[in-house]
């Protein structure tokens, strides 16, 4: 049950989700009607079945599959939980309601399906994702929101009560929260020609104040640290549906570098899903070489930072020349710098000097 890549319309996508869930239930129903214990087969998510695919440019699951069989005493409970999760989310989608992972955990109790703890409940939802090929956001299950967006993009809501209503993403000076209603909206009109994703709220606000969206004709997205899955999916849509190039600005340390990498190539945990990555997005700084070139104020790398760099060295996602060069440089200079470090040259330096230079370099 792999979803086709061609889905453009959010509405059409929801219908596909519902259709597939119905098929999923119908399959189990038929098995039981034929006097058989129901079962489902899905790709294995064990570590030995997760591979990095240079073609797809993200982690994917291998050939191994597992069978969840209601005949098996150890399987029947998670199996039931998964069917329940399918039922529950199909109700969400049908009634156009959204929910959170925490909600799912508590809702189960109403059906005498109590989960042992939150991780068990989360894990069942991941099972459902794997078995159906949809992300939980497609089932209207969203994480807590922290991301935001600002720029001259007009969206059209699809959520109940707001259908057809439009909103320009510059309408709020603090940015618009990237919640379920924005994520599930259709793109009505767009005047931006690039997306700039920013790790930290402080810099996001500075960019709005300095009118970066106008000066560079850019849509600003705040990832607020590691980007939530809904945000990654949204970036993917901006890139795919509006064909906007995506530039990512993070702190100059291994953790910032990895925030960019997860947006670009995804994570092993999401190997069963597609559409959460933006392989053509570019990490635009702060590089280790920038620290040298711009003589930025720095902190020394901690032992944890260095250990992380050595881990990244072996990570199959870090194969490009840029990545290799930056890891090597970090290890050489043993220093790191935050995005705010540019303030040393004045508050507007980063917008007036650094950003144009970077975007120029990227455009080449």
């Amino acid at each position: 049950m792999k979803k086709s890549e061609s889905e453009r319309s959010v509405k059409a996508k929801k219908e596909t989700v519902l259709k597939d869930l119905r098929k999923f239930g119908g399959n189990l129903y038929d098995q039981m009607e034929h006097g058989k214990f129901p079962w489902v087969e899905m790709p294995s998510r064990s570590t030995e079945n997760i591979f990095y695919s240079p073609d797809v440019r993200q982690f994917i699951l291998g050939e191994k599959s597992v069978k969840r069989h209601a005949r098996n005493i150890r399987h029947i409970k998670p199996f039931t939980q998964m069917v329940w999760a399918g039922f529950f989310t199909s109700e969400l989608v049908r009634n156009r309601k959204t929910s959170t992972l925490r909600d799912v955990y508590y809702s189960a109790q109403a059906y005498e399906m109590t989960f042992k703890d939150q991780p068990e409940s989360n894990n069942i939802l991941t099972d459902l994702e794997t078995a159906t090929g949809f992300a939980r956001e497609d089932f209207n299950v969203y994480p807590e929101e922290r991301s935001a967006l600002f720029g001259d993009l007009t969206i059209e809501y699809t959520v109940p009560g707001y259908e057809g209503k439009q909103l320009n993403m510059t309408s709020h000076p603090d940015g618009v929260m990237l919640g379920p209603s924005v994520v599930s909206s259709e793109f009505a009109q767009n005047k931006c020609d690039k997306v700039i994703a920013i790790e930290k709220g402080g810099l996001f606000t500075r960019f709005i104040e300095e009118r970066v969206h106008e000066k560079f004709n850019a849509l600003l997205v705040l990832t607020a640290g590691q980007a939530p899955r809904a945000t990654r999916h949204f970036l993917n849509r901006l890139n795919r549906e509006l064909e906007l190039p995506v530039y990512i600005f993070t702190d100059g340390d291994p953790w910032g570098m990895h925030i960019a990498m997860v947006i670009i190539s995804g994570s092993a945990n999401a190997a069963h899903l597609r559409g959460l990555t933006t392989p053509d997005a570019k990490w635009s700084g702060v590089y280790a070489t920038d620290i040298v070139d711009y003589k930025l104020p720095t902190d020394p790398l901690t032992p944890v930072d260095i250990k992380r760099l050595h881990e990244l060295e072996k990570d199959p996602r870090y194969t490009g020349d840029l990545w290799k060069r930056e890891i090597k440089t970090f290890l050489k200079i043993k220093k790191k710098a935050e995005q705010e470090a540019f303030s040393r040259y004045g508050l507007t330096y980063i917008v007036d000097e650094y950003l144009p230079a970077k975007l120029d370099a990227m455009a080449d």
């Binding site: 239930g25 039981m32 058989k36 214990f37 029947i76 409970k77 039922f87 399906m113």
Partner: protein, 584 residues
């Protein structure tokens, strides 16, 4: 000036009542009831009559009433349907310490019938009141004595004596007297004692009315009784110098050879002869002093028996005379041994004895050091046959099971009786049982019921050999985990129970006894393991079924909803198939 004064046994026990268990008021009341109940049970069992024992404890009228936590004066009455006591023995049996009926070697609860008198003595010294004894052996009269014990002289002091007509053909004994004690502190032990006694005596009716007027009834579950023990002689391994001296005093044997045969368990002519030779108590004539007719007798005896003829060949007088002429041997035994080096010494000895030439001392003429030597050699000689167990009266597996079922109502029970064994010349039999569930409490530790000759042992549990054995077993191997309602019963029957103290509280660590207890417990534990394994399997199966029963309907419902169907699929077939699997 130092004065020396003889003290009587009664006086001795008066001064040392601690060693008989009368250590404090609560212990005293417990021991008093125990001793009298045991006498009653023994007395009925000698007649093979199911015992009926009635115990009544009341607060003494006129005495200050006992508080819930203090001493009081009580009147104790114990009635039984036992053999009764002949009128002329009543005063001594209850008024003289160490006048017992049990000075014989067979299994009985009491050793000397001493405890009963001790209990009465204790009552007298704490209340200074007489004891009343009523008894009948089932004849036409009931005798009633009112008496006290003259402690210094160890003599009964009869205050009053009545004879009544026994119109109802009653048989049995009633003992009634006053004593000081602390019932409320002893209560739990007394009730536990009665319960365990009922458990190990399932053919007895025991009733107890306590000072509050509460009746505790332990009703028999069967009328079958264990085979009564037969009296037996002492085994050579189990005697001491004093026993030998007593036997010498009463014997009419004129030779040690005869003495050994007559007074010892499983000692016949051959064993007696071989042992006495081993011990150096056999003399054979000096060869040179043998007369012609002696030689003729010897040759004749040898040639008459086929066995001797085969071993010695045909003997002639000439042959023997020649041997005597050449030898320097001082005894006939030595001479024949040298002449026939291939023949066993025991055979030669038997030949000499058959011819009537073996001399052993008259036991009455043994010197003290010879008696000591005799006893020492008895312990060293390894040719005695082990004692047999006819003098023991174990409960048997059926009665043991009946007793446990009656008192504990367990879910599972396994009992085992070991083969007879011996330690230091004393035969013994170990009986073990293990019970699970029912009235047995869920405790961290296994409940242990210990019995010796049908007496419950209630004190000093931690020091007892059974408890040590049980602690030493790796119970996880038998699928036993802590918190299970589990009880183990160990019953040791012996003519001499190896108590570690005078108080009959716990059994000493005798290796021979320990190994029997260990093997007995292992045997029943193995059967428990089978039971527990089966239970576990059934429980697992039940749990497995319940999992399917819980989740399958949910899968049916959710998938029907998910598929948009109005009816849920039929899952009866699936549930049935799981159940079928269980039966396989």
């Amino acid at each position: 000036m130092v004065t020396f004064q003889e003290i009587s046994p009664a006086d001795f026990f008066y001064r040392n009542r601690d060693i008989a268990g009368f250590t404090n008021p609560s212990r005293a009341i417990f021991v008093s009831i125990r001793e009298l109940v045991e006498n009653s049970l023994d007395s009925a069992e000698t007649l093979s009559t199911p015992p009926e024992v009635y115990v009544r404890l009341t607060e003494e009228e006129g005495a200050p009433t006992a508080t819930e936590s203090g001493n009081g004066v009580y009147r104790l009455m114990v009635m039984d349907n036992g053999s009764g006591i002949a009128a002329r023995h009543i005063p001594s049996a209850f008024g003289q310490v160490l006048f017992g009926s049990n000075y014989k070697l067979k299994q009985a609860r009491g050793t000397f019938g001493l405890g009963g008198t001790m209990a009465i003595l204790y009552g007298q010294i704490t209340t200074h009141k007489p004891v009343i004894i009523k008894s009948s052996t089932g004849g036409s009269k009931v005798y009633e004595y009112k008496m006290m014990i003259d402690i210094q002289r160890n003599r009964p002091l009869i205050l009053d004596r009545k004879t009544k007509r026994n119109s109802e053909n009653w048989r049995g004994t009633i003992v009634e007297y006053s004593l000081e004690g602390d019932y409320y502190r002893a209560m739990s032990k007394i009730l536990e004692y009665l319960k365990q006694t009922a458990l190990v005596t399932p053919y007895a009716d025991i009733r107890f009315v306590d000072p509050k007027g509460r009746l505790y009834m332990f009703t028999k579950a069967t009328t079958k009784m264990p085979e009564p023990p037969t009296e037996t002689l002492a085994h050579p391994y189990g005697v001491d110098v004093e026993t030998i001296q007593r036997l010498i005093r009463v014997t009419n044997s004129r030779s040690l050879l005869d003495f050994m045969r007559k007074h010892f368990h499983r000692v016949g002519q051959g064993t007696s002869l071989n042992f006495l030779e081993f011990a150096g108590f056999v003399r054979t004539p000096t060869p040179q002093r043998l007369k012609v007719e002696n030689i003729q007798k010897l040759v004749e005896t040898a040639n008459k028996s086929k066995k001797f003829r085969r071993l010695f060949g045909k003997l002639t007088e000439e042959q023997i005379k020649n041997l005597i002429k050449k030898t320097k041997s001082q005894s006939l035994l030595d001479l024949l041994q040298k002449a026939f080096p291939k023949i066993d010494k025991a055979i030669i000895l038997r030949l000499i004895a058959s011819a009537g030439f073996v001399r052993t001392k008259n036991p009455k003429k043994l010197r003290p050091e010879e008696i000591v030597k005799l006893v020492r050699m008895m312990k060293q000689y390894d040719g005695f046959l082990p004692p047999d167990a006819s003098c023991l009266s174990p409960l048997g597996e059926d009665l043991l099971r009946a007793g446990i079922l009656k008192e504990l109502k367990p879910e599972f029970i396994a009992v085992s009786q070991r083969k007879p064994s011996t330690y230091a010349g004393h035969p013994f039999i170990v009986e073990t049982a293990i019970a699970y569930g029912g009235n047995i409490p869920n405790k961290d530790d296994i409940v242990v019921y210990r019995f010796a000759n049908k007496i419950p042992l209630l004190y000093d549990e931690a020091s007892d050999v059974s408890v040590r054995v049980i602690r030493g077993i790796n119970w996880r191997r038998y699928k036993v985990s802590s918190g299970m309602p589990l009880a183990i019963l160990v019953h040791l029957c012996s003519t001499k129970v190896p108590y570690k103290t005078v108080g009959k509280e716990f059994i000493a660590d005798r290796p021979e006894v320990k190994i029997e207890i260990l093997n007995g417990i292992r045997e029943v534990a193995r059967r428990l393991q089978t039971f527990l394994a089966k239970r576990e399997h059934v429980a697992k199966e039940k749990k497995r079924l319940s999992v399917f029963a819980k989740y399958l309907p949910k899968i049916a419902r959710f998938s029907a909803d998910l598929a948009g169907k109005t009816e849920t699929p039929n899952i009866d077939v699936l549930l049935k198939s799981v159940r079928k699997y269980e039966e396989e």
